[in-house]
């Protein structure tokens, strides 16, 4: 009997990790380039916009470059697993940063902007299902991950998230991400094009991330090195 239960649990865990992998695959191909816009909206309705270019390879390699506003232009970030570096033209060399820091100010932090695959950072610990959704509880694989626990609601039809609640290790809700506006980006990529974020720490503030273009693309492994962190923009040519 114990063997049967063990086998069932093992099969369930395999299926669960398959589900997380499928979500990752649907959100972004393994190797791709993305253009996205971040908008910070203040309680008085005023806005600040940022335009970002990102290149991603595998499950845990990513580089980002701010294209707008001009005061942030050339501010590049590299993520290699749990390592993160920031390059600022005024400093002229990469410096190590943490995933909890916010590069742009406002509700989004580095981890939200430099999001790599969920399956590389989290284990699926609980899963509930109803007619239209899965409700997943994800636990960070180690304490270097920005959020200790995620509660993810996944739309069964598209196998993409509709809402993610992000919690700290003390169980405090840090922010909620709302995935909206399913869009066909071509090359078989159909995913939410908008992520809205609200946080109890930023009352009245709202941040929006809008995906403009996602294209599958292969990059040399050396693209994701600190020697090339100031050359991210060259990838666009």
């Amino acid at each position: 009997m114990k063997r049967i239960i063990g086998l069932l649990l093992f099969t369930a865990s395999l299926l669960s990790s398959d589900l997380l992998l499928q979500i990752d695959k649907n959100l972004q191909p393994g190797s791709s380039e993305t253009y996205k816009k971040l908008i910070n909206i203040e309680p008085d309705g005023s806005k600040k916009e940022f335009l970002l270019y990102q290149a991603k390879s595998g499950t845990d390699k990513m580089v980002s470059s701010f294209l707008k506003p001009v005061s942030e232009k050339g501010r590049n970030t590299l993520r290699l697993g749990e390592n993160m570096w920031l390059y600022m033209p005024s400093v002229g060399r990469p410096i190590r940063i943490t995933s909890m820091q916010s590069v742009v100010g406002g509700v989004f932090n580095n981890s939200d902007i430099m999001r790599v695959d969920f399956s590389s950072e989290y284990n699926l610990v609980k899963e509930k299902t109803d007619k239209a959704t899965y409700v997943l509880e994800l636990k960070a694989k180690n304490d270097t991950i920005a959020y200790d626990k995620l509660l993810m609601i996944v739309d069964k039809k598209t196998t993409t998230p509709t809402q993610i609640e992000c919690y700290s290790s003390t169980g405090m809700l840090i922010k909620t991400l709302y995935y909206k506006n399913i869009k066909d980006f071509g090359s078989g990529i159909v995913r939410p094009s908008v992520i809205e974020t609200k946080s109890p720490f930023y009352k009245g503030y709202k941040s929006i991330m809008i995906y403009g273009k996602i294209t599958p693309k292969k990059f040399a492994a050396e693209t994701f090195t600190i020697d090339n962190i100031n050359k991210v923009n060259d990838l666009r040519r």
């Binding site: 816009k37 909890m100 100010g105 403009g212 923009n233």
Partner: protein
């Protein structure tokens, strides 16, 4: 009534659609790029004799890059204007002007004037053998490079050694070229080997000049916790003398960044140089978004001369406006005994305001 509700719903959907709009023209690539800033600063200083000095400073930096296939032309020009107590001075500098050629994803070559910015520390970089010395009070001010030829090899791996790169640099000096490095004919070869090994950045540096002593350097940087980074640099300058820095960067849960560095030089220089002939402990505390004010920060910086216990203290605030303008206001106070480094300065305190417009 129904029509009105439908019209209102339509209007709201339009507003939301507009909020989610993405301008595809904004991501078009060009064969050239430019960027820069104009900075206006005002210093209001009080001397020990109770005299007031007002200084006005202007700084403009323009960077221009041009791209043709594997070739890139990179340049940066700087112009400065100083009006110190009605005495005027102006300077202009070519900070960088070089051509970069990408032979492959593993090999690059560049030639011209550029800064290499070696080292891992924020305020001092003993291993930056081929860069101009930083002013620890304004570490980002040093932007001018030297004329060099530079080859770089870069290779990534899927193992404990995640990345390796090798820099080979040749720098000549003469009465006309790189004369502020050495005012006579000489040749420099410098090598830097970089390793990203077990999530740790490590550099090993060797410097050889046919007229100067050989130098050897080592630096490292590592996140020992997700919010706690340590770094260090060591430079062996000749048989007797060395210079080193160790530091940390720590981010608290309420967005306070603490940067601390201890700098030591094993001897007093024959020719005194500001900062580089003493022992210092520098601490900077920077709090992001105080009182929930986004795009702002407050900071306090303390530079302690460990030989005479004198200090320089800066308390300031930075605000980034939405129209690419940044405002930086600070108050700087020198404290120390009469004969100490900071205590002997004729300026007692300074109110410094900087307005920067990025374009």
């Amino acid at each position: 009534m129904m029509r009105l509700i439908v019209a209102i719903c339509f209007l709201f959907s339009l507003i939301e659609a507009n909020e989610y709009e993405f301008d595809m023209d904004a991501i078009e690539t060009k064969t050239y790029e430019y960027s820069g800033y104009i900075k206006a600063s005002q210093k209001h200083q009080k001397t020990k004799q109770n005299k007031t000095i007002n200084s006005y400073l202007g700084e403009a930096i323009v960077g221009f890059d041009y791209f043709v296939e594997q070739w890139t032309l990179k340049s940066q020009f700087q112009a400065n204007y100083y009006n110190t107590d009605k005495e005027e001075k102006s300077t202009d500098t070519i900070n960088q002007l070089y051509i970069d050629y990408k032979l492959s994803s593993n090999n690059r070559f560049d030639i011209g004037k550029q800064s290499l910015m070696w080292g891992k520390a924020y305020f001092f970089n003993p291993v930056a053998f081929l860069d101009r010395k930083k002013d620890p009070n304004n570490p980002e001010a040093s932007k001018e490079g030297y004329v060099i030829a530079h080859y770089k090899y870069n290779k990534s791996y899927e193992r404990d050694l995640q990345n390796f790169s090798l820099d080979i640099v040749y720098m000549p000096t003469s009465k006309d070229t790189n004369d502020d490095f050495l005012d006579e004919n000489s040749n420099t070869i410098a090598l830097k080997a970089y390793f990203l090994y077990l999530d740790t950045d490590i550099d090993i540096i060797y410097f050889h000049n046919d007229k100067l002593d050989d130098k050897f350097g080592f630096d490292f940087s590592k996140n020992i916790l997700t919010n706690f980074e340590i770094h260090g640099e060591y430079a062996k300058l000749d048989d007797e003398n060395s210079s080193s820095v160790v530091g940390i960067k720590y981010l608290t849960s309420y967005d306070l960044t603490i940067t601390s560095e201890y700098f030591d030089r094993s001897y007093r220089l024959k020719k005194p140089e500001p900062f580089y002939d003493k022992r210092y402990f520098i601490n900077k505390f920077s709090l992001k978004e105080p009182f929930g004010m986004v795009y702002s920060s407050v900071y306090y910086k303390n530079s302690l001369n460990l030989l005479d216990n004198s200090t320089q203290n800066s308390l300031g605030t930075v605000y980034n406006f939405k129209n690419n303008i940044q405002l930086d206001l600070s108050y700087i106070k020198n404290i120390g005994e009469k004969k100490s480094e900071f205590g002997s300065k004729n300026i007692e305190d300074t109110i410094l305001s900087k307005l920067i417009w990025y374009f």
